[in-house]
Symmetry: C2
Subunit: 211 residues, 2 copies
C-alpha cells in the first residue's frame, strides 16, 4: 500500500487529489497538512511513502520545508506541487531532495504516473516542467549571466528605485546624493548585468530575481 501525505492549504486541491486517487486500490491518503508546522508534526508520527508538497504554503515556502523534511526523513518520496512552472525553482527543489514535480493542471493519469515513477525510485517531472528545465539548461549557455553578479548595497538600492520608476534626478534627491553619483551606480549595475539600457537592465534584473 502506498500512503500519501498531502501538504496543501487548499481544500480544493486536497479534495481534487482525493478524487483522483479514489478507486486506485493501492494508494491511500494518510493525512492532509495545511501548513509546514502541521506537516512536520505529522511526519514525526507517520512516514508516508509519498509526500505531495505544495510549494506555496501560508507559513513557509516549499523549498525550506523540503529541506527540513529531508533532514529527518529520507524514506518518503517528495513530489512538489505548484501552479507556477519555473525552471530555477524546479532545479532547486530537485537539488533539495524532491523526487518529482507536478503542476496543478495535472490530470489523474499524470498524478498516478508520477506516484508510480517516484515509487520505483525515478525522478518524475511533469511534461511542461521537463520542457522548462530543458529550456533553462539550453539557455544557460547563451546567457552570460550564469553566475549572478553581486551588487553592492547601494547598487541594489538604486536598482530598486529604478524599478520603482524613478529617474536619475529623482533618485539622487531621495538618497541625498548628486545625480552624477546615481548615474555612476546605474552605469556599474548595467555593466554587471550586461545591459545596455535601463529597461533591459530592469528586465534582466527581474529575470534573475534581483528585484
Amino acid at each position: 500500500m502506498i500512503n500519501l501525505l498531502i501538504i496543501d492549504d487548499h481544500p480544493l486541491v486536497a479534495g481534487g487529489i482525493e478524487m483522483m486517487i479514489r478507486g486506485v486500490e493501492n494508494i491511500a491518503i494518510k493525512g492532509i497538512a495545511k501548513n509546514g508546522a502541521d506537516a512536520l508534526s505529522f511526519l514525526e508520527k507517520i512516514k508516508p511513502e509519498i509526500i505531495l508538497l505544495d510549494i506555496n504554503l501560508p507559513d513557509t515556502d516549499g523549498l525550506q520545508l523540503c529541506k527540513k523534511i529531508r533532514v529527518t526523513n529520507l524514506y518518503s518520496k517528495i513530489i512538489a506541487l505548484t501552479s507556477a512552472n519555473d525552471a530555477s525553482i524546479i532545479i532547486q527543489l530537485l537539488q533539495t531532495g524532491a523526487n518529482g514535480y507536478l503542476l496543478k493542471n495535472m490530470d489523474q493519469y499524470e498524478l498516478i504516473e508520477a506516484i508510480d515513477k517516484v515509487m520505483q525510485g525515478d525522478i518524475y517531472l511533469s511534461k511542461s516542467a521537463n520542457q522548462k528545465v530543458q529550456e533553462y539548461y539550453s539557455s544557460v549557455s547563451t546567457n552570460p549571466l550564469d553566475t549572478l553578479p553581486t551588487l553592492t548595497r547601494r547598487e541594489k538600492e538604486v536598482l530598486r528605485l529604478l524599478a520603482d520608476g524613478m529617474n536619475g534626478p529623482q533618485i539622487s534627491e531621495k538618497l541625498f546624493l548628486s545625480h552624477f553619483t546615481i548615474e555612476t551606480h546605474r552605469k556599474h549595475i548595467m555593466q554587471k548585468l550586461n545591459a545596455n539600457s535601463t529597461q533591459q537592465l530592469l528586465k534582466t534584473a527581474r529575470d534573475n530575481k534581483l528585484i
Copy 2:
C-alpha cells in the same frame, strides 16, 4: 435542484469541487468545461443555475468570457473562481455581471454558502476578497488610476515589448513599423497611464496588471 457548470481547466479544481459538494443532496454538477469555447457550446444546450468560472483559462480570460455569457444568458448565476485576490479584477467582474467571487483556498463551507447566497439573489464575495475591495475603495482617493485605461491592441503589444526591454527602434523593426509610430504609441500609452517616463510607465502598468 441546483445544477452547476464548472469552467476550469484544472482537473484538480474540478475534482475538488466535486468532492466538496458530494453529499449535498440539492446540488449537482451538470458539466465541466475546460476552456471558454467548451463553456459557450455547453451553455447553448443547457442553462445551469450556477456557473463556477475560473478566471485563468487557456483560451480566454474570465472577464471576457463572463461578458460573453451575459450577452445570451441572464439566467445563470456566475461565481468567479481564482487564486489571485485582486480588487480591480473583482470589481470589473462584478460590473460585468458576476454574482460572486471565490478564492481557490476556499473550503467546503464557503463554497456552499456562496452557492446559497447567490441563489437567493445576493452577491457573494469571499471574506478576503471583500476585504480587498474595501481596501481598494479606501485607497482609490490616493490612486489617480481609479478606472483602468483601456489600451488598444497595438498599444498593448508595444507595452509588452517595452516591458521585454526593447527600445523604440528595436520594436519598430520587430513590428515592421516606423519608429515614429512606436514613439506615438508609447506617448499614447504614457498619457493613458499618466506616466512621464518609460520606466514609470512600466511600473504603473505592472501595478495595474497590464503586463
